[in-house]
Symmetry: C2
Subunit: 292 residues, 2 copies
């Protein structure tokens, strides 16, 4: 979705606020999986086969970690490792994550502003039937199989000044078609992001991550079922409620959403390739311009 | 030298106590260059071309670190990185460096006991004409060029129990032909290693790192000159003084050592290959047995 808007907007007009609830310390390194995935995509370096990591990466270090009896469940590529090494180096020197991310984006030639939601640690914890798991241990190591009873988000995290400034001047806020519970809620939960989105006059759009009864990727469908909710865009629009103005859902679900309080945009939402990402972004921008 | 003794002794009889004054935190990782060099050598994995690092390593991660504007002066190979990642992981879990090293040695199939001199941090600082530098910044980043005014060793570091136990039962202690000021002194300075070597009845041997007026490798010759001392084995035997019983120096310097208080073994000391290492170790063992 970020790449779609990057293709459609003057680059200085796009800010991507990224979940850092997934971040963790691993093998001594500070790893920010969502920041990296967004940046690799915007830099044109993303691995299209996996949806994470870098294209043309290799696995010598992590395979050697496995041989040495270390934890190899989080697959760090040799090139990808450099991102974590440099980030960790700069953080240890006292830089804030926002500044570190700006540095890395400059090296990658990324022009939109990519902002971690906060400079403070904000770890998401997953309360499962098998105990409380740090996010990546649940998501990657356990492949999101343990049933989720609750998502624990820290309640005292503050947004960075850069995020607040971006929200203050935003005309349109788009909640990407990510998992509402573990990808969007961690951002919305950072003070005062939810309140700013509720109060300020910009148009707020959400794109459904559920299409045709399944999640396009990840555990959103499974988590809806575990909450006793239908796996449908209706459950998503109901969940966001009055936080959003516009709900975008897929043509496959035409007629399946009924929400008198929202503007509804029914279109093709599955972003198979660069062009599809640009088209969806263009449609959302055109729709919100018409509203305004 | 360690490899020579490993070829000559029953492996359970050999303990290698290693300088950890060179250790440093870099890019988030705990790096122990001397431990790694010793272990890679004993495992048969050392890179013979460099004298450090692993054979057949690659440089994708560190070259990417350079591209991202990070510090790349300490050349971490992709396979070598795994050592630091696993070590850092285990240390962060609360393991001591002695136990971490034992774990890694087991993975590498190393049978002699390889012991860090201490489980406490013991950073060597180099006071130079250009300021105080942490050891690796002087040795690697600045390629030991800034003139050394003083080597600062911490005065409150204690040996591990494993080192003390090994010294208690040692028949022969050999100070390897390393730099006396920055490789041996950091070990001897750890309490109570110097006192144990002085007091206990084992035979203490030192091998000269100076041959034919030069250091076989590293800054020993330059450091002798900066101290106003001759670049000769005589300067080394004088420096160790009554700490040692036997002094081993090279045939190239025959007649150049005069030290009535020491037993002198003049032989070929340059260890070009595995066989040369084994031969020197064999000669030292034979000589000390004759003494005893």
């Amino acid at each position: 979705m970020a790449d779609g808007f990057a293709q459609q907007l003057p680059l200085a007009n796009l800010t991507v606020v990224v979940n850092t609830g997934d971040d963790f310390e691993h093998l001594g390194l500070t790893i920010c999986p969502d920041l990296d995935t967004v940046c690799y995509m915007l830099a044109g370096l993303a691995n299209p086969a996996t949806g994470w990591g870098l294209r043309d990466d290799s696995w010598r270090a992590i395979e050697q970690v496995a041989r040495l009896g270390g934890p190899a469940w989080f697959r760090l590529g040799d090139l990808d490792l450099a991102t974590h090494l440099v980030r960790t180096h700069l953080l240890k020197q006292g830089e804030r994550l926002t500044a570190v991310t700006r540095h890395l984006c400059a090296q990658w030639g990324i022009q939109p502003s990519v902002l971690p939601m906060s400079d403070e640690p904000a770890p998401t914890l997953i309360v499962t039937d098998e105990g409380v798991l740090p996010f990546q241990h649940w998501f990657v190591e356990r492949q999101w199989q343990p049933a989720v009873r609750e998502v624990l988000l820290p309640d005292d995290v503050r947004a960075s000044g850069a995020v607040i400034a971006a929200l203050e001047k935003a005309d349109v806020v788009v909640l990407a078609p990510s998992n509402p519970f573990v990808s969007l809620d961690p951002i919305l939960n950072v003070y005062p992001i939810r309140a700013m989105i509720m109060d300020v006059p910009e148009v707020v759009v959400a794109v459904s991550p559920i299409v045709g009864g399944v999640a396009i990727k990840g555990p959103a469908a499974k988590m809806l079922q575990e909450r006793g909710l239908p796996v449908s865009p209706q459950a998503i629009v109901d969940y966001y409620g009055d936080l959003i103005d516009v709900f975008v859902y897929d043509r496959q679900d035409q007629g399946a959403v009924n929400s008198p309080d929202h503007e509804l945009l029914c279109t093709d939402t599955i972003m198979h390739d660069r062009d599809a990402r640009a088209r969806l972004a263009r449609e959302i921008l055109a729709y919100t311009e018409e509203l305004a």
